[in-house]
C-alpha cells in the first residue's frame, strides 16, 4: 500500500489527489488575495491617519501598527474564528436562530489576514508617500486640481509606484501566513495536505507537495511583481 509512486498519489484520475490539491491551491490564492486587498484598504486609511490625522487619530494608528506587529498572527486568527461566534451567536439568538453561529472560516481567515497585513500596508504606504516629491503635489495644486483630483491623478499613482517593492514583500508574507488558516479547517493547501497525509499515511509526501506548491505560487507571483515593478518604474532614472 505504501509503495505506489508519487505520480499515482497526485494523479488527477479518480482516487488521485491531484484535483484536490489544485482546488486547495486555488483556495490559498483566493484567501491570500482577498486578505491582501482588504489589508491594503485598511493600510490606506492607516497611512492617511498617520500622515494627516490629528494627535488622537495618529496615536490610534500608531497603536494599531505597534500592537499588530507584536502579536502572533495565529492568535489573531483564533480571535476572529472563535471571537466571531461570541458576537454572532447572541445576535442570531435575537433573530430567533438557535445554536452556535460563527463566521465562515474563509471570512474569518480573510479578516485576520487583512488586520495583520493592514499594519504592514500602513507602513509601506506611509513610507512611499513620503518619497513622493512635494514639488509634484504642489505642481498639481498649482495647475488648479482639487484635492481629490490631485490625489487620484498624482499622489495615488506615484505612491503606488514607490510602494510596489514593499507590497511585493507583504504579498509573500500574506501567502505564507494563509497557511495558518488551516487551523480553522478551511481547506487550503496545508489543510488538504493534512487530509491527504492522514488518509494515505504518507505525511512527508504530502507536506513536501504543500511546500512545493507554496514555492511555485510564491516564485510565480514574485516574478509577476518584479515584472510589474519594472513596468511601472520605466519612467524613472536609475541611480
Amino acid at each position: 500500500m505504501n509503495d505506489f509512486g508519487v505520480m499515482t498519489v497526485f494523479s488527477f484520475a479518480p482516487g488521485g489527489w491531484g484535483a484536490a490539491m489544485a482546488a486547495a491551491s486555488a483556495m490559498t490564492i483566493a484567501v491570500a488575495m482577498a486578505g491582501f486587498i482588504a489589508g491594503a484598504i485598511i493600510g490606506t486609511f492607516g497611512a492617511w491617519a498617520k500622515i494627516s490625522g490629528g494627535r488622537i487619530v495618529r496615536s490610534v494608528a500608531d497603536g494599531y501598527t505597534t500592537v499588530l506587529r507584536g502579536i502572533p498572527d495565529l492568535l489573531v486568527i483564533y480571535l476572529f474564528y472563535f471571537g466571531s461566534s461570541a458576537v454572532l451567536t447572541p445576535i442570531g439568538r435575537f433573530f430567533g436562530a438557535n445554536g452556535f453561529l460563527s463566521l465562515p472560516a474563509f471570512f474569518a481567515g480573510c479578516l485576520a489576514i487583512a488586520i495583520v497585513s493592514g499594519a504592514y500596508h500602513t507602513e509601506v504606504f506611509r513610507g512611499a508617500y513620503q518619497v513622493v516629491a512635494l514639488g509634484e503635489i504642489d505642481a498639481a495644486y498649482a495647475t488648479g486640481m482639487s484635492r481629490a483630483l490631485a490625489f487620484r491623478r498624482i499622489i495615488a499613482p506615484l505612491t503606488l509606484r514607490f510602494a510596489l517593492p514593499g507590497l511585493a514583500n507583504i504579498w509573500q508574507l500574506v501567502l505564507k501566513e494563509s497557511s495558518l488558516i488551516s487551523v480553522t479547517g478551511l481547506v487550503e493547501i496545508l489543510r488538504q495536505s493534512q487530509i491527504g497525509a492522514g488518509s494515505t499515511k504518507q505525511p512527508f509526501t504530502f507536506f513536501l507537495a504543500a511546500a512545493i506548491l507554496y514555492l511555485l505560487i510564491s516564485s510565480a507571483s514574485g516574478w509577476l511583481l518584479q515584472f510589474a515593478e519594472r513596468h511601472f518604474t520605466r519612467g524613472l532614472r536609475r541611480g
Binding site: Y78, L190, S193, Y214
Partner: protein, 240 residues
C-alpha cells in the same frame, strides 16, 4: 468587563511564558550559529558553497513555517529508517521538532542579516588589520565579526521578535506555550476576546522587553555614536 476573568486568564496563561521564551531563545541561538555558517558559505566565493547557501535560503524563505514544522514533526515519521534511527527519541518529541524547525527557519532569514553586516565592514579596516600583521582568522575574529554584529544588531532584534511570534505555531503540534494555553482557554470559556487581550498583552510585554534590551545593547556597542552630552555630565561630577 469582568476584571476577575482577566486576572484568572492571566494566571492560566502565565505558565506558558517559560516555554515560549525557551522555544524562542534556544531556536534563535541555534539558528544564529547556522546563520553565520550560511552567511560565510554565501560569501565564500566558492561556487558550490554559494549555491548550497542560496538554495537553502530560497527554500526556507519561500515556504510557510507551519509547513516546515509539519514536514519535520509528521513528515519524517514516514520513513522507517528515521523511526529506527538513533535520532528518533529526539524527532519524536514535538518540543525538539518545533525547535529544529524554528532554528532552520530563522537561520535562513538571519543569514541574510549577517551577510549584510559582514559586507558593511569597510575594506579599509580589514586592510589596516592585515597591515598590522593579523592573520585572516584573527582579522575575522577581532575586526570583521564584531563590526558586523554591531551593524546587524537592530535587524537581528527584529528577527528575534518575529521568532517570539513564530513560537505560537508550536501550539499546533501540541506544545502548551502561551498561544496553546490561550486556545485551550478559549475553547473552555468561549471568551475569545478577553483571552486574546490577555495573551496579546503578554506577547507585547515580552517583545517590549526584548526591544529595550536590544536598544541597550546597541547603545553599549556604539560609544562613538553617542552625543557629546556624556562628557559634560562627567565634568560636572568632577567639579562637585
Amino acid at each position: 468587563m469582568d476584571f476577575s476573568f482577566f486576572l484568572s486568564a492571566f494566571l492560566r496563561l502565565l505558565p506558558g511564558v517559560p516555554l515560549t521564551l525557551q522555544l524562542a531563545f534556544v531556536s534563535v541561538g541555534l539558528g544564529m550559529v547556522l546563520a553565520l555558517i550560511l552567511a560565510l558559505l554565501r560569501l565564500s566565493r566558492i561556487r558550490p558553497f554559494e549555491w548550497i547557501a542560496r538554495a537553502y535560503i530560497f527554500l526556507f524563505r519561500s515556504t510557510p513555517l507551519l509547513v516546515q514544522i509539519f514536514l519535520i514533526y509528521y513528515g519524517l515519521s514516514q520513513f522507517p529508517t528515521v523511526r529506527y534511527s538513533v535520532l528518533w527519541p529526539i524527532l519524536r518529541q514535538p518540543y525538539w521538532c518545533a525547535i529544529i524547525a524554528l532554528a532552520l527557519n530563522t537561520a535562513a532569514y538571519g543569514s541574510e542579516i549577517i551577510r549584510g553586516g559582514l559586507r558593511s565592514v569597510p575594506e579599509g579596516q580589514i586592510e589596516a588589520a592585515r597591515a598590522c600583521g593579523m592573520s585572516r582568522i584573527t582579522v575575522f575574529r577581532r575586526i570583521v565579526l564584531p563590526l558586523a554584529i554591531r551593524q546587524a544588531l537592530p535587524a537581528y532584534g527584529n528577527e528575534i521578535i518575529l521568532m517570539v511570534k513564530a513560537t505560537a505555531l508550536a501550539s499546533v503540534i501540541t506544545m502548551m506555550e502561551i498561544t496553546g494555553l490561550a486556545a485551550k482557554l478559549i475553547s473552555e470559556s468561549y471568551r475569545a476576546v478577553e483571552v486574546f487581550v490577555v495573551a496579546g498583552s503578554i506577547y507585547l510585554i515580552i517583545n517590549y522587553v526584548i526591544t529595550r534590551v536590544i536598544h541597550l545593547l546597541e547603545y553599549w556597542l556604539t560609544p562613538h555614536l553617542r552625543s557629546v552630552s556624556t562628557p559634560v555630565v562627567i565634568e560636572r561630577e568632577d567639579a562637585a
